[in-house]
């Protein structure tokens, strides 16, 4: 925390001042976790920088630059960009879903020059931005008004529908969780929340019946009884548990994991990379990594709490929760606590879109931190 006087903080800061204000402790932790990721990618490649570690390092460095760049941009600029970003994301998302359906199935990517981009990743950030902006303009009473609520739910629901159509169940869950969390944090009345929870209880079986793809249903069923398909879909869960469990208290040592190196693990460099870490570093290492994540999240919560604007608070908390949901879903999935859905472990799993969206998110979070003293009127910007 800075000791600078309030007055100074309210003035427009120079870029150098802003860089000084960046929470470098948190950035350091993020870098440490990313380095663990590089080490794991090196490990699952059998002790090689190629094909994954080097690429990932380059991406992280680019992501790092993005983080710093985003953090110094005034939070009000982000406020004003929130709806356009949301709109662009939605258009890309719908475009890719339609193109995918025209094409050959699960198409989640659009190509922008050398970069493959997943609009669903973009949408996670855009939604938090847009919702934070929308809710920023609403008092507690406003939010619980049906018209406003319906608008907010539409903002959440429309991208969720298109993401689930991709189909990408994991990201859909995160979008819904992010959206619901923001509504809750903004002060949605319990009179809405409790019936909504009841509705979800009804909706789940309905979704099972009509929304989920067969392979998604199979994943769930297999999760409930992995032995039913021990060599098929159950294989992943079984082998992931073996990998984690066989790490024991202190693990098999760096590069010593056999499960991933001998290809018993599926997607060892992406969604299941945590299992390799748990195998090589054991309980001690895994808990330490969880603590690292928890501390980063703690920073995020603290940033949210210290922001003066509701936009900043909601944005920071939404981004933190987004990060948390990533970890929660991925870890629960590889540990066999929930069915397998395709969600990477942030900062550790190999993947460009996820890396950039996570680093962009941290950049926004940092921007909230840097501009935590900035007051934004409820009706600023004049849009809605």
């Amino acid at each position: 925390m800075t000791t600078r006087p309030y007055a100074a903080m309210r003035r427009t800061l120079s870029v150098v001042d802003k860089l000084y204000e960046v929470n470098w402790g948190m950035v350091l932790l993020i870098t440490i976790v990313a380095c663990i990721g590089f080490a794991m990618l090196y490990s699952v490649a059998g002790g090689n920088f190629s094909p994954w570690a080097t690429t990932q390092i380059i991406r992280f460095l680019a992501g790092f630059a993005i983080l710093v760049a985003v953090s110094v941009v005034d939070i009000r600029t982000w406020l004003s960009l929130a709806y356009p970003a949301y709109g662009v994301s939605l258009v890309l998302l719908i475009g890719v879903v339609i193109a995918g359906h025209v094409g050959k199935g699960a198409e989640r990517w659009i190509t922008l020059g050398p970069l493959g981009l997943q609009p669903s990743e973009l949408m996670k950030i855009s939604l938090v931005l847009a919702l934070a902006r929308f809710l920023h303009g609403k008092s507690v009473e406003d939010i619980s008004k049906p018209a406003n609520l319906a608008l907010a739910l539409a903002m959440i629901g429309i991208p969720a529908v298109f993401v689930v159509l991709q189909p990408n169940l994991g990201t859909t869950l995160i979008i819904l969780a992010d959206g619901a969390s923001l509504l809750f944090l903004a002060g949605l009345s319990w009179w809405w929340i409790l019936p909504a929870l009841s509705a979800v209880a009804v909706a789940v079986p309905t979704a099972w019946q009509f929304v989920l793809h067969d392979y998604q249903k199979r994943r769930v069923l297999t999760f409930l009884d992995p032995a039913s398909d021990a060599l098929g879909a159950g294989w992943n869960i079984t082998q992931a548990k073996i990998a984690i469990g066989s790490g024991g208290a202190t693990g098999k040592g760096f590069l010593g994991g056999t499960q991933s190196k001998l290809n018993f693990l599926p997607e060892k460099h992406t969604d299941f990379i945590f299992t390799n870490f748990a195998e090589e570093f054991g309980f001690v290492g895994s808990v330490a990594l969880l603590i690292l994540f928890a501390v980063i999240i703690g920073y995020g919560v603290q940033i949210a709490g210290s922001a003066r604007s509701q936009f900043g608070r909601l944005l920071a908390m939404g981004l933190t929760l987004n990060f948390f949901f990533y970890i929660m879903i991925n870890a629960s999935m590889v540990m066999g606590l929930i069915p397998v859905v395709g969600i990477p472990m942030p900062l550790i799993s190999y993947g460009g879109s996820a890396m950039f969206s996570v680093m962009f998110g941290f950049g926004l979070l940092m921007s909230v931190h840097v501009h935590r003293q900035v007051e934004i009127p409820r009706h600023s910007g004049g849009i809605i």
């Binding site: 001998l262 018993f264 606590l337």
Partner: protein, 630 residues
């Protein structure tokens, strides 16, 4: 507009409350994740470690080299040679098993029968078990497979071992053969080798009798495999224990000579060492090539073997039971001398009458005055009717059993027939009819109920020659353990009795007896013997009246069996022999064979003593087995 209105303050408070609540929720989730890690890694860590190890490490069985079978001079009768083969792992055949077989079929020749067998084997085994597709490939074929390997998913070239019988058919009655493990074989056995695809076990003969000794103990290679079963590296290797060698008493040269001498006859011939009971030759013709079974006999070949009326699959030497006919007479003569009938004198008129039944001599006109020696030499039936009448069935049975008949000898080759010696008590129990004197007379000339195997008849000859209760045996040394054979006990007959019987048998061959046309002329190598004819069917009175007076007029299947027992040299017997030629009574081919075999044996090894069995010191370092694994 104030920056912080009342509403802002309230929503700030609400946000703080709720975000703290959510933080608590997140903390709880982290606690759950930590708890789950504890459960997986600490509580169940050992179990998962074992599972990971099981994942990683694959035990591959190594078939040990099968022990060799050697003759008494160390000639390899059964050994192993390299078997270039192709295995298929159905799990890894990504295009499917049938497609894989088609692709293999383009590289090497595969018959439809082979493909069918592979599909069947794959169904019977677990998906990751390699199943043999083709064995005993030529080097060129094997090289072609290796060259095309990149396009053959799931195909594993492999160098195994296969049993080889360098002398094929000649030794089939002794060695038997090896073949695939049947479900029955696995029933009560827990040897993991039995589940190894392509593993062969002994099915007959010495291969079966000593299967556990020659099989050895499975070795194992612990290999690290990846999830696709591909071997990454070998972690450790236990070569297993090679099978033990079996040294037989057989003299391969004598065996070969005997078998070749028997030629195409449906016949059996056994040569024993009179003193030790060592089986020097045990031939049964026609035989089969044991190598056929080893590489997988085709249905046509199998059909040919089982439909052949000369029954090549039957080991006639010890599984065939025949009425011994006159070859039984020396045993009766022994009992006669032992029971004070040494000076029995009978006048043979060609037949004797018992009640209202005529018992004929083979010589229709009769032999006239016959004593013991002449009775044996001329094989006078009337003389032995009188012997039988005087002895009674009980003494005859005792004498026959003392000579090794009516019971299995315990020779180490499975499938031995016990033959049969009747008794009054047996008949009562079996048919509820008292024993008749006529049956006694019939038994006296080796007819009626009496049955003997060629091995038993050879034992009879050996016991007459040595005067001792020699027991045939064929395995001399198993692995490093020589099987000592103490001198057999004397038989319960006087030396005088033996001398008289040998004298009679000498007369058979050397003093104008029934086999004198084929006497061994070489001085000091003379044989003594006894001819015999076993009636396959009785020529009816009606046939006699229509002119079917002897065998020549009958089809082969109905002709009498020709038998002969002998020992040599007469002066100091070493070799005993029994030979039977089925439906071959005419022309006495069995006597000709005996003549040639005994002469060959004596010329080759005059005293019958020479062997090359390993000393115990030599056995301490067993011969180096072939490398490779199966």
């Amino acid at each position: 507009m104030p920056l912080f209105d009342r509403k802002d303050k309230s929503r700030y408070a609400s946000f703080t409350r709720r975000s703290l609540g959510m933080s608590a929720g997140m903390a709880a989730v982290f606690a759950v994740l930590g708890g789950r890690l504890y459960q997986l890694q600490i509580r169940n860590g050992n179990q998962y470690m074992t599972e990971a190890e099981e994942n990683r490490v694959n035990q591959r069985l190594l078939a040990p080299p099968r022990g060799r079978v050697l003759d008494r001079f160390g000639v390899e009768l059964a050994n192993n040679r390299r078997n270039y083969r192709v295995l298929l792992v159905s799990e890894q055949a990504t295009e499917g098993v049938e497609a894989a077989l088609d692709t293999i079929g383009k590289v090497i020749e595969l018959t439809d029968a082979q493909k069918k067998r592979v599909l069947h084997d794959i169904q019977m085994n677990k998906k990751f078990v390699p199943v043999p597709v083709a064995e005993n490939l030529t080097w060129e074929e094997f090289a072609r497979i290796n060259m095309h390997l990149p396009y053959l998913a799931g195909v594993q070239p492999d160098v195994g071992q296969t049993r080889d019988y360098p002398f094929g058919v000649e030794l089939s009655p002794v060695l038997g053969y090896v073949a695939s493990v049947s479900p029955d074989d696995k029933k009560d056995a827990d040897d993991p080798l039995l589940s190894l695809p392509g593993f062969r076990i002994g099915k007959r003969g010495i291969e079966k009798a000593f299967d556990s000794e020659v099989r050895g103990t499975a070795g194992a290679s612990r290999v690290e495999v990846n999830a696709y079963g591909r071997v990454i590296r070998e972690l450790s290797r236990d070569p297993g224990v090679p099978g033990q060698d079996i040294w037989l008493t057989i003299d391969k040269e004598l065996q070969t000579f005997t078998a070749q001498r028997m030629g195409a006859e449906s016949a059996a011939c056994v040569v024993l060492d009179c003193q030790t009971g060592d089986v020097l030759a045990l031939a049964s013709t026609p035989g089969y090539d044991p190598n056929l079974f080893n590489v997988g006999i085709t249905p046509d070949q199998w059909k040919g073997l089982i439909t052949d009326d000369h029954k090549p699959l039957v080991n006639k030497a010890l599984s065939g039971a025949y009425p011994p006919g006159s070859t039984f007479k020396p045993a009766m003569a022994l009992a006669a001398v032992q029971n004070g009938l040494k000076d029995l004198h009978v006048n043979c008129t060609g037949a004797v009458t018992l009640g209202n039944h005529q018992f004929h001599c083979w010589k229709r006109g009769g032999h006239g005055g016959v004593d013991l020696k002449r009775g044996i030499a001329q094989s006078c039936d009337v003389f032995f009717y009188e012997v039988a009448r005087r002895l009674g069935i009980d003494k005859m049975e005792a004498a026959a059993r003392a000579m090794g008949m009516g019971a299995t000898s315990g020779i180490e080759i499975p499938g031995e027939n016990s033959g049969f010696i009747p008794s009054a008590a047996w008949k009562e129990a079996r048919f509820g009819i008292p024993w008749q004197m006529g049956e006694t007379l019939n038994t006296g000339i080796g007819q009626g109920y009496v049955l003997a195997t060629p091995l038993q008849l050879a034992t009879l000859a050996a016991r007459i020659a040595s005067g001792r209760a020699v027991v045939p045996r064929i395995a001399h040394t198993v692995g490093t353990i020589a099987q000592p054979r103490p001198l057999a006990d004397p038989l319960p007959f006087t030396d005088e009795a033996f001398a008289a019987i040998r004298d009679g048998m000498n007369a058979v061959c050397n003093e104008g007896g029934t086999a004198s046309r084929w006497r061994i002329a070489e001085p000091g190598m003379e044989m003594a013997g006894k001819t015999g004819t076993a009636q396959v069917r009785v020529i009816t009175k009606q046939e006699r009246s229509t002119g079917v007076l002897n065998d020549t007029a009958l089809p082969w299947k109905m002709r009498d069996h020709g038998l002969f027992i002998a020992f040599a040299p007469v002066a100091a017997p070493r070799y005993a022999l029994a030979c039977i030629v089925e439906h071959g009574a005419l022309g006495h081919p069995q006597v000709q064979i005996a003549h040639d075999v005994l002469l060959f044996a004596q010329k080759r090894n005059p005293l019958g003593m020479r062997t090359a069995y390993p000393t115990n010191a030599a056995l301490a370092t067993p011969p180096v087995p072939l490398g490779g694994h199966g």
